[in-house]
Structures are given as structure tokens and as C-alpha cells.
Amino acid sequence: MSNIKNKASANLSQIGLNQGPGSRPGEIAKVRSKNVKETIRRIWSYLKVQRLHLLIVFISTILSTCFTLLSPYLIGKTIDNYIVVQQFDGVLKMGGILFIVYVSGALFTWIQQFFAASLSQHTVRDMRQDLFEKYQGLPIKFFDKSTHGDLMSRTTNDIANVSNTLNQTVVQLISSIFMLAGSVVMMLSLSIRMTLITIFIVPTVAYITKKITTYTKKYFSEQQSHLGSVNGFVQENITGLKVTKAFGREAVSLDEFRVINEKLRAVGVKAQSLSGSMGPIMNTMRNLSFVVIAVFGGIFAYHEIITIGIIVSFLNYSNQFSQPINQLANQYNLLQSAIAGAERVFEVLDQPSEENIEKKTDVDKKIKGEVNFDKVYFHYETDVAVLKNLSLHAKPGEMVALVGPTGAGKTTIINLLTRFYEIQSGKILIDGKDIRQMDKDYLRQQIGLVLQDAYVFSGTIMDNIRYGRLDATDQEVEEAAKLANAHSFIQKLPKGYETYITSDGSISQGQRQLLTIARAVLANPSILILDEATSSVDTRTERHIQEAMKSLMKGRTSFVIAHRLSTIQEADTILVLDNGEIIESGSHKELVIKNGFYQKLYENQLA
């Protein structure tokens, strides 16, 4: 009877925290982790802070298991000692004891679940926070190397995995082990012979089950891989549906789909028939152990070796004994995948952070904006040099334009100036000071960056612009927007500045660029960098922005990268880059007269 408890809690937990479908045999990916001991030690370091709660969970788990074990014993005793001999007072007394046992069991189960909930949630909250803070400190290089999808899944899935495991598996594991040991002790105290029979039959059943599972698993994974390829096909072809339609190829695409869908159908019927048989087979195994205990119990009782009450107790204990065995294997796999998940989280936490010399520098103390590159050499991960001993000089307040073909190293210069990447040799100086000797935060606060990929955060337009200077008033935000030519489109939006936008396209790319310009305007930096900042704005709007930028650039050193040469003709210096070297420099007029690379680029655009 007490097996009701396990079933009940397992089922109701599905309603609750345990998202996703219930686990079927073979569905849990077996992921072997590399350094289990170390990983567990680190998870422990998170748990350690909640030692007291942990202790409460542990003790209440053991207590609730004990009470669960006690009830079949008491019921058996009631039948033997009082019901069979028809002593009703005794039955009443036993009923009272059972009542206390059940209430205590329920109480401790509740305490255990109550504290386990906060235990796991607090642990993963801390892990999530640590991971997020780690992201803030990691160098750009790290983010360029890894995909967002991967990092995202570490922060969400892997951590959820750890949480679920801590919340359920660990508790279940403890109670399973106690249940197993406790059942054996209780059974031994009742009848050694019956215990031997039960102990023999349960592992046999478990063994047979496992044999059949390994056989059906093969079909199951075959089905999964077919399902995977159908889903892959669907994913690709629906994404490219517009192309298919433009070419009138729908019929062909449907035929191709039919072929793989039919394969999946055939494999699916077979796999489901086989793996679905596990249910009836397990059910039969349970029935058979019931039969064996009933029959042998009957025979022993006939010979008066045992009593009827003992049969009843054993029918219950066999259930309590077999359930943990079936669960243990499952829990072990879950535990493995959670440890692997935690390991993936720790892997990120172990990445080296950005190097920085922390110096308390007064943020309000503005730099003048003189920039010097002195024989700067740089390469990314591969050994191909991107900048080869490049030197450049920008006087305070000057506008420097960088032009040249893709891959010439324009964006790299900006990555180095902001110390997103560190140079291998040479020096970069601002106001005569080596930027490696400067506090990174201070350095970046002096530089306003407007990137080609105009990124907006989920939030209101007001929040997005204010990101440039957090203490700016609404008035100041609006002024910045006006300067960046964003005000007019913002006003046309239904909620104006309070319109909620997300990173994926509630407003157009061009409008996003305007917002990021407004953001930089608001930041009021000493050095301004515009990396293809207006590439997605149509040329007429760009013109308007440029007027605004002109007043913005006054008194600031600015670096401008642009493909459209019309945007940079007024620069003080134009640097023409090719293959990581400056091949020409001068004003627009000088370079046109020079009749070199720049002149060719210029003609090409005019042609």
C-alpha cells in the first residue's frame, strides 16, 4: 500500500516542476562526464552554504522512508495478531499506531520536499548568477569563438538539469537506497525464507527487463534518428519555402518529403510496437512476482512456517523492493547527465577573464583624444597577420576615415582601440599613455561605439537610448534622439518612447541603427567610432544623420568606417587599408589627385 506514495509523488511532480515528457526507457541521453569527483566537489561548494537545509532534507528523507517501511509491517501484524484472532481492541490500538505512522510519514515527506525546493532553487540561482557575471568579464574573443546557442543552452538547459536533479533525483536516490536496505531488514525480521524468494525474484525480473530494454532501445534510437532527419528536412524546407515557391518546385519537395516520411512511418510502427511492449512486460513481471509470493507464501503458511499477515506484508515489500531497483538505474543516468551539465557550466566559469589593471580613475576626467598606433602587429586565432606593424596618428578632434576592401583590417583597428582584443606587439597610445596601462572600464567610457550590427535590447526605446548614460533625464534622451534623427520615427510609434522593442525585428534595421547612434550621442564620449553605422539606412536619411553627426563630431576624435565613400569625403584624414597595411593616406582631394587605390575605389562607385 505504501507504494501509492511513490507513484503519487512521481505523477504529481510531472504536473509541477518537471517539464517535458516523462522519461521512457532509453530516452535519457547517457552523457559521461570527465571529472566526476571535481564536479561534485564544486556543486557541493554551492550547496555548502545551505548546510542546515541540506541536513534537514537528509534527515527528513530518512525518517519518511522509515515510516513508509513500517506501515506494511504493522498491517501484517494487525492481521495476524488481532484480526485473525478477532481481537478488536488490538485492531483499534494498531489503527492508532498506524495513524501516527502515516501522519508522521506525510509530515516528513512534506518537510523534505519543502526544503528540497529552496535548496535546489537557491543553488541554481547562485550558479546562474555566477555564470552571468562571468559572461560580463569574459573577453570578446570568447564570444566570437562560441555560438550563442551553445552558451544559451549552458545557462538554461544545463542549469535546469542540475536543478531538477538536485530537487528530485538526489532525494529519490537517498530514499531508494534506504528503502532497499530497509525493505531487506524488515523482510528478514519477518521470514528468512520469504526474503530469499523475494530477493531472488526481484533482481531476476530487473535483469530480464534490462535485457529486453537494450534490445528495444536499438529500435527506439533508430526511430529517433529517422525522426531527426524528417525534422531536419522540414526545418530546412519550410525556411526555404519562399525559394521553392518562386521556382514552382512544391510538387518535387512534397515527393521528397513523402519518401522520408514513409520511412519514418515504417520504422515508427516497428519501434513503437517493440518499445511500447515494455509496459505490458513490466506489468507481467510485477504480476509474476505477486504470484510467486502469493503461492509460496500460501505454501509456507499451509505448513505454518509463516502467517497470513506475513504474506500480506511481503506482497507490499516486494513492491517497495522492486521499485527502487527499477528507479536506481534511471536515477543513475539522470545523475550522470546532470553532472555533465554542471561540468559544462563550470567549463565556462573556468575561462580566463579579461586582463585588466584596475585603477580608480575619475570618469569625469575626460581625455583629450589623441590616438597613436605605434607599429601595431596583430593576428586572431590563426597565425595570419591582420595588422602588420601599422602606425597611425589622430590629433584631438580629428575625423579619421578608414576605407579598404573587406578583410583589410578596418574593424580590427577598432577592436584593438577598445581593447576587445589585445595586440601582440607595438603600442597603442591615447593622450600619450599606453592603453594597456589604463583601466579598461575608464578607457571604454571615453569611447563611443556605434556598430554595424545595431543591437537593441528587449525593453522600451527610452531604456535602449538611456543605456548610453544611465542617469540621463527623459529630456536628454529625447534630445539625443533628435540629434540622431530618430525622434520623428519614434513619435510615430503607438507608444512613442515607451514602445517595447526586442532584438528580433519589432523595428527595422535602419531604425535600430538610428537608436544606437542616439545611444552613443547620449554617452557623450571623447572618442567616437562609427563602424558602418548607417549602412542600413537609406541614403537620404543617412544624409540627415550626417548633418547631425557633424555637430556631434566637433571637438571629438572620430573614426569612421564606411563603404559609401560619399559619407567620408569630409574626413580630415582618410586611411586606405589593404592587407593590414596603410597604403595611402590624406584628404579626399589629395587622394583623388594621387590617382591611386582610393581614386579607383571612388571611380568604381561613381561609375
Binding site: 509541477g16 485492531v91 514513409e262 526586442t502
Partner: protein, 582 residues
């Protein structure tokens, strides 16, 4: 779910057999405690060894019968669910293939994919669950109650009362946990949004030195989420013990009352044991049923989502054609063409308004204008990727709505803005529109599209595999392959929708020169941002806010059209513009 019933109909036989066999399995399972009681009452108490042995054999037989029934049920249920799933998947895919651009737009690609993949699996599992577990648990429940009642009516009534109480408790918990968990879900979404935003915008975060700000902001959502989760989990933590306690209280009452009955010889000991087993069975079945109801409500969402797609009637019907006649396309005319997405009726809100213009064989029409002016929509009306809202487009005097859609599409080559490539080799991709093209055809198209040279430099040339969505090729390379794909069709109408935006100026110039010969042989439409890409066109249409505000050659427009002039000035600077004007 009900909406999908026609897809399960062909498998009606399985639908009948599966539950029948499941009922048999339940029946055999329910016999076991009864037989065990028989062993105790007539074997042990009456001291009859033969009864014990015979009943034992009977129990084994019953267990085997239960196995056979269970396996048979599963076989039928699997056939039904898998075939049902495969049929629905095909129906969905076929339907989506017939969707117009507008339908795709309104459903959104990502959502369509989830419906064909995830939702179908959910619906398929649902059939399996209904046929097996949803038959098993309630009938176990009902069967147990019947068996219990047949042993002793008074005891049975206690059981019924407990079941009722449990039902109320379960409904209560489900009712009150739902809002709690949906709050957790919303909070989880905001945690994920913060992480997603932070990862994608990390450069901005660093550039503005906002690490501290972001950390603080994250701490808040993280804390909120944790608190809500704990609250929900703690609420659910009451549920398990309470349900278990109610069940166990029922057991105690039955034990007390049953013990009393045996004392008065109204009940045999074995029957009491059997009764206790049935009680356990009934109570755990009830909990199972409540769990099943939860998964049913999830599957209902999925089947509704499937149904939405299946019941959408595509706006354009494509007829199958035995052969596809080509047409000469000597002449294309737009007559008072207006277009709006999503049933907009107010004229000033329409994407295109009263467009009139015509083009002749051999002409090149360029379209220029600001982002969002309606350029792409304009050209997508020609192959009927969208249908005009009013007015008509005529090709060789015939309304395109009267032409078979397949004929129209295969004769109009459009290079879309988004250069989507399919997985497979470069050869497969270029010959996409005309399977079985020979190497010469493919190479010619690639050469004109300025793709041949870089393709030859790839490790396997034309047989190089393109990663899904073309990840290992640059934007410009993908654009050139998709141009070659269209050129291979030799269409009488060629449309280039801003499809050279990622090409550098030199390559674009070469492409334009190479296209000259082809453009002589068809009507070409070019959408572009750069003046340099459109200036050689026979006719340039300047579009602003859905209307043609200027049409003519480069020279004409430069002199007479203010919009065109200002676009020009923005690209070449005022000096040159002023120079040209005088």
C-alpha cells in the same frame, strides 16, 4: 483533437481492437488479488494444498493472458498512432507547400516548423496515450471499485467516499497550481531574455561599460524567478503528502472496519487482504488519471495548432500541369495596381497605390527608393508571390490571375533578397529549378553570375557541400549562387530583388556586364540601393510611399525628379550632383 478525427478514421479497426485488448489486460490484472485471496481463504485457512497449487497455476496463466492482451493492445495502438502521425505530418507538409507568401507570413516560419515537428509528435503520442493509458487507468479504477464492492458493499462505500474526497483535493491542487506555474514560466522567459540579450549584445555591454548594471539587473530577475519557483514547488510539496495521507487514512478505516467485520464473521481474512489490494489499486489509478488529464491538456494545445494549419485555405490554388508551356513575355503591364498586407482597406495605408506602368521585351526596369517604399512587394506581385489587392497585372495582354500558377512561376525568374541555399552540393543548388541540367548549363549560369571562379577554388568545386543555410559561404557568394540558380532557368522575365547588396563594387560591375546579353532577351527588373547599379537601365522607377513618383532614364530623372536627385546627391556628394544638373 476532435478536429483531427478524420485522420484517424482509416485506422478505425485499431481504434476498436486496442481498447478491447486493454480492457482484457485490466480484467486479468484485477483477477490476481482475488485469486490470492482464494489461496489464503481456501488454501491456507481451509488447509487445502491442492487449491494452493491449482490457484497458483491459474494465476500464472492469468498473468500470461494479461501479457498477451497488453502486447496486442500496444501493437494496435502503435499502428494507429504512428500511421496517424505520418498521415498528419504529410497533410501538414503538403498544405504548407500550397501556402501563399501571405499565409507563411501570418503563421511565421518558426511556428510552422514547430507545428510539423513537435506538435505532430505530441498529437501522435496523444493517440498512443488515449488508446493505452487512458483506457487502462480509468478502467483499473472502475474495475477495482467494482471488485471491492463485490467483496463487501459497506467497505466499498468507504472507498467510494475516499475517491470523491481525493478527486476534490486533486482538482483543487491542479486549479491553484496552474496560475503559479504560469507565473514561473513568465518569469523564466524574462530570465532567458536577459541572458539572450546579454550574449547577443555583449559588445555593446562592454563598449558602454555596463557589466555592473547588467549584473544588477539580472540579479533581480533571477531572484524573482527563484522566489516564484520556490513558491510553486512548496505549494506542490503539500500535494503529495496530503494525497498519500488521505489514501492511508482510508486504509486504516478499512482495516478497522474490516477487522470488525471479520470478527463478526461477515468477512473472510483473505477477502480483507484482497480488498486492501483493490483499494491501493483504485487510489493509485486515480492519481494516474489526474496526471494523464494534465498531459491531455498539453496535447490539446498541439492538436489545435495543427488544426489551424490544416484548416487554412491557401489563397492561391495551384493546378497540376502535365506540361508547362513557356511564354514569350513580350509585354508586361500594371493597371491601377494596389496592394496591402492583412486586409488593409484605407488607401493611404496600402503598401502600393494605383501603380500604372508597362515594360517591353528586352527592356530593363530599375526600381529605386527608400527602405520600406514598397519595392520588393512591387516585383513579388509579378510571379504572384502575393496577389494584387485591386487592379491587374497583364502579361502579353492576359491577366496573370488567369494563367496557371506553375506556368507563371516557372517562367518568371526571381532572385530573392535573402539568398537561401538548400543543403546539398553547389551543383544541386544551381540546378534547383531544372533538375538534371548538364555541367555546361550549370557552368554557364555560374560564370555569368560571377560564381564560377570562387566555386572552382572550393575543395570539391561544384560538388562542394553547402552547410545548412549555407554557413560555410560568405553572403556575397551565396548571392551569386542564387543568381546562377535563377539564370539557369533562362526565364523570359528576370527579377533581381536587391540581390547584389553583398557584392563588392568591382564584382557587381562584372556581373552587370555579363548580364547584358541575357537582358536583351527578356524583361528584367532590378531593385537596388545604389545609383550606380541602376543608371544604365532603360527605365528607372522611383518609388516613394507606395507610389511611382518618377519614371524615366537616369539623365531624365536627374534633371527633373527631385527625389531621384536627392538620392543621387546623397551618394555622390553635392558637388557632382550640382555639376550634372547644369
Amino acid at each position: 483533437m476532435w478536429g483531427l478525427r478524420s485522420y484517424i478514421k482509416p485506422y478505425w479497426k485499431f481504434l476498436i481492437f486496442a481498447p478491447i485488448f486493454m480492457l482484457m489486460e485490466v480484467f486479468f490484472d484485477l483477477l490476481q488479488p482475488r485469486l490470492a485471496a482464494y489461496i489464503i481463504d481456501f488454501g491456507v485457512v481451509e488447509r487445502d494444498m491442492e487449491t494452493i497449487q491449482q490457484t497458483g497455476l491459474l494465476m500464472v496463466l492469468v498473468a500470461l493472458l494479461s501479457l498477451v492482451s497488453g502486447v496486442a493492445c500496444n501493437l494496435f495502438a502503435s499502428r494507429a498512432s504512428q500511421n496517424f502521425g505520418a498521415d498528419i505530418r504529410e497533410a501538414l507538409y503538403a498544405k504548407i507547400q500550397r501556402f501563399s507568401f501571405e499565409d507563411i507570413h501570418s503563421f511565421q516560419t518558426g511556428s510552422l516548423i514547430t507545428r510539423v515537428t513537435n506538435d505532430v509528435v505530441q498529437a501522435q503520442n496523444l493517440v498512443q496515450i488515449i488508446l493505452q493509458r487512458l483506457v487502462r487507468s480509468p478502467s483499473l479504477l472502475i474495475g477495482s471499485v467494482i471488485m471491492a464492492l463485490s467483496i463487501n458493499v459497506k467497505l466499498g462505500l468507504i472507498l467510494l467516499g475516499t475517491l470523491l474526497l481525493l478527486l476534490i483535493v486533486l482538482v483543487f491542487f491542479i486549479r491553484f497550481s496552474f496560475p503559479l506555474f504560469s507565473k514561473v514560466q513568465t518569469q523564466l522567459d524574462s530570465v532567458n531574455t536577459r541572458i539572450q540579450d546579454n550574449l547577443a549584445g555583449i559588445r555593446v555591454v562592454k563598449a558602454f561599460v555596463r557589466a555592473h548594471f547588467e549584473t544588477k539587473r539580472f540579479k533581480k530577475v533571477n531572484k524573482d524567478y527563484t522566489q516564484k519557483s520556490i513558491k510553486a514547488a512548496r505549494f506542490m510539496a503539500i500535494n503529495g503528502p496530503v494525497v498519500t495521507l488521505i489514501m492511508n487514512m482510508c486504509l486504516i478505516i478499512i482495516l478497522l472496519y474490516g477487522g470488525n467485520l471479520t470478527g463478526r464473521n461477515d468477512l473472510q481474512v483473505g477477502d480483507l487482504v484482497a480488498f486492501i489490494n483493490y483499494v491501493t489499486q483504485a487510489l493509485s489509478s486515480l492519481v494516474m488519471v489526474s496526471g494523464l488529464l494534465m498531459s491531455l491538456s498539453q496535447a490539446k494545445v498541439s492538436s489545435n495548432r495543427i488544426n489551424e494549419v490544416l484548416t487554412t485555405e491557401p489563397k492561391m490554388i495551384m493546378k497540376e500541369l502535365d506540361s508547362i508551356p513557356s511564354f514569350s513575355a513580350a509585354h508586361i503591364r500594371f493597371e491601377e495596381v494596389s496592394f496591402a498586407y492583412n486586409n488593409v482597406t484605407k488607401k493611404e495605408d496600402m503598401t502600393l497605390k494605383d501603380i500604372n506602368f508597362e515594360a517591353f521585351h528586352g527592356e530593363t526596369i530599375a526600381i529605386i527608393g527608400a527602405t520600406g517604399a514598397g519595392k520588393s512587394t512591387f516585383v513579388q506581385l509579378i510571379p504572384r508571390l502575393y496577389d494584387v489587392s485591386s487592379g491587374a497585372i497583364l502579361i502579353d495582354g492576359k491577366n496573370i490571375k488567369d494563367l496557371p500558377l506553375l506556368q507563371l512561376r516557372q517562367n518568371i525568374g526571381i532572385v530573392l533578397q535573402d539568398a537561401f541555399l538548400f543543403s546539398g552540393t553547389i551543383r544541386d543548388n544551381i540546378s534547383f529549378g531544372k533538375a538534371g541540367s548538364d555541367q555546361e548549363e550549370i557552368e554557364t549560369a555560374a560564370k555569368i553570375a560571377q560564381a564560377h571562379d570562387f566555386i572552382m577554388k572550393l575543395p570539391n568545386g561544384y560538388d562542394t557541400k553547402v552547410g545548412q543555410k549555407g554557413i560555410n559561404l560568405s553572403g556575397g557568394q551565396k548571392q551569386r549562387i542564387s543568381i546562377a540558380r535563377t539564370l539557369l532557368m533562362r526565364p523570359p522575365v528576370l527579377i533581381l530583388d536587391d540581390s547584389t547588396s553583398a557584392l563588392d563594387l568591382g564584382t557587381e560591375k562584372l556581373l552587370r556586364e555579363a548580364l547584358q546579353d541575357i537582358m536583351q532577351e527578356c524583361i528584367t527588373f532590378i531593385i537596388a540601393q545604389r545609383i550606380s547599379s541602376v543608371k544604365t537601365a532603360d527605365k528607372i522607377l522611383v518609388i516613394e510611399e507606395g507610389t511611382i513618383v518618377g519614371a524615366g532614364t537616369h539623365q531624365d530623372l536627374l534633371k527633373s525628379n527631385e527625389v531621384y536627385h536627392s538620392i543621387y546627391a546623397s551618394q555622390y556628394g553635392n558637388e557632382e550632383a550640382a555639376y550634372v544638373q547644369h
